[in-house]
């Protein structure tokens, strides 16, 4: 069964009329992980944000986005807001900039949990602390009282994952969640993603430059190039039997970067 069906999604700039994503259709099976791969500027982030209508107003979109049987494009602003975070959660690329720099990080979690579940501060903190322990964060009580700049990118990344564990969304969208991290933190974060899928069984869209990571985590892969999907298939198929020349090019260039990473993964 498909949890998400995107039909003919197009995104364009309203001022210039320039098409940024063109006629893209894809499906996501319940419980599976879809990786979106492609070079910088190919429209991966735009596609991810378009799913919950988070692109800036200057961009327009058309097409259907059917999530659990409901077309998200027909929902009102208030209705889609209730789905954001609760049913479709986003994990940001750069943890350091994903939190309000003038508030301790606990504020974001309290606000989000209060919004969706009506929890008071105490209850929200208790749940966050339990979830943070599960993603191997030490001293969670103190972490909640830290400002973003006092924490590392990997820690913040795991805190976002912890929030997702509490909210148990049906779909998690992770837009290059490991790009800003060093290799060790990358490894830890990927472990948490694998764990996250096991524990709450959510489906996942995983954007990444790093084919080594994609191979570990994804069931299916979409290859995007300048706003269009050029190839798709199961991870195994893409890695062994790529048809499109652009995919083969991506395969050839990835190797050196992720060698160290693969050593880590295989050593575990």
């Amino acid at each position: 069964m498909n949890i998400l069906e995107v039909e003919q999604l197009s995104i364009w700039d309203q001022h210039s009329g320039k098409a940024l994503v063109h006629d893209s259709s894809f499906q996501l099976r319940k419980g599976s992980c879809l990786a979106i791969v492609g070079e910088s500027g190919s429209g991966k982030s735009l596609t991810c944000r378009a799913l919950t209508r988070l692109n800036p107003k200057s961009l327009a979109q058309s097409g259907k986005i059917v999530f659990k049987g409901i077309d998200l494009t027909t929902l009102s602003e208030a209705e889609i807001r209730q789905k954001r975070g609760k049913e479709i959660a986003m994990i940001m690329q750069n943890g350091m900039s994903a939190f309000d720099p003038s508030c301790v990080v606990g504020v974001h979690f309290r606000e989000t949990l209060g919004q969706h579940l009506g929890w008071k501060r105490r209850v929200a903190d208790d749940h966050m602390i339990k979830a943070m322990e599960r993603v191997m964060l030490q001293k969670p009580v103190e972490l909640l009282r830290k400002y973003p700049h006092e924490l590392s990118g990997g820690m913040l990344q795991r805190m976002m994952i912890a929030l997702a564990i509490v909210l148990e969304p049906d779909l998690i969208i992770a837009d290059e969640p490991t790009t800003a991290l060093d290799t060790i933190s990358q490894y830890e974060v990927i472990q948490q993603f694998l764990l996250l899928r096991q524990t709450i069984g959510s489906s996942m869209i995983f954007v990444s430059h790093d084919l080594g990571v994609v191979r570990q985590i994804a069931d299916e892969v979409l290859i995007m190039r300048s706003g269009e999907i050029v190839e798709r298939g199961t991870t195994h198929h893409i890695f062994t039997n790529a048809q499109h020349e652009y995919t083969r090019y991506l395969m050839a260039t990835r190797a050196t970067l992720s060698d160290h990473f693969r050593q880590l993964m295989e050593g575990s």
Binding site: R49, T52, L54, R81, Q82, K83, R84, G85, K86, A89, M90, M92, N94, S97, A98, F99, D100, P101, S102, C103, H108, E111, T112, Q115, H116, Y147, H149, E150, M160, L163
Partner: protein, 310 residues
Amino acid sequence: MSIYIVKRMVLAFLLLIIISLITFAFINLSPLNPAVVVLQAQGIPDTTEELIRQTEQQFGLDRPFFVRYLDWGMACLQLDFGHSYVTNQPVWSTLGPAFVNTFKLTLVSSIAIMIVSVVLGVICALQVGKKVDKTVRGIAFILTAMPSYWLAALMIWYFSVKLDWLPTSGMDSYRSYILPVLIITISYAGIYFRNVRSSMLSNMNKDYVLYGRASGLKESVVMMHILRNSLQVAISIFCMAIPIILGSTVVIENVFAWPGLGSLSIRAILSRDFPVIQAYVLILAISFVIFNAISDMINAAMNPRLRNGL
């Protein structure tokens, strides 16, 4: 945070000492012998050696530099800035009330400037690129390009003379404040609201706003975070505007015959009344240092990253 406050206060204190030393030195390094200036200021034409020595003794001008500086500094702390060379009155007896008058005008104007800058800045940022934004920015551009004395004359002519709604000059009731405050506000808020606007705009494009929305937070909650981060600019504006206006009310005070520091300092400078000039410069410098420190502390309270900067 408390460590930051202590550090910042120590820094402010050091600055004050340096500034007072410089102020004192400048006045004393002036090529004119102060004793001669005193005599001239008092209208005595013949300055004999005898008379000069007498005057030096009378004003303690014959003692070493640092002794005089320490004496002067201690006295300043008690608001004793010596006696005017011209009137022989204690400096503070004329400077004090003038300072209070200017400070009142400055404070009211700064509050007005902050409110107007924030309101316009926020509105323009929310409506960026739309008609409201363009109109406000256009009008602000024209208004700030006009010289303030010309604007003042125009407004006096219209509101005070033609319509007879407001007093033309002086400082009699709250109505006397309206025109001067309006003109000062126009010339500063027209510049400062752009800072609020651009700070809002840059915050609206930050990742934390996207993550807040993506987490399903209400637009009002997201907006509070944007404001919280943008308003640091507003507080800096407020704290920086006070000393700047304090030091630049000369034109407005002269147009509106406001009995403040501006008019007083001009008179003091023209008659070379050193103790008054010294006190005036010192007061301005002190308010710069103090309001700068306050602004830094408030900003550090709001933006934790700044606390490590000192």
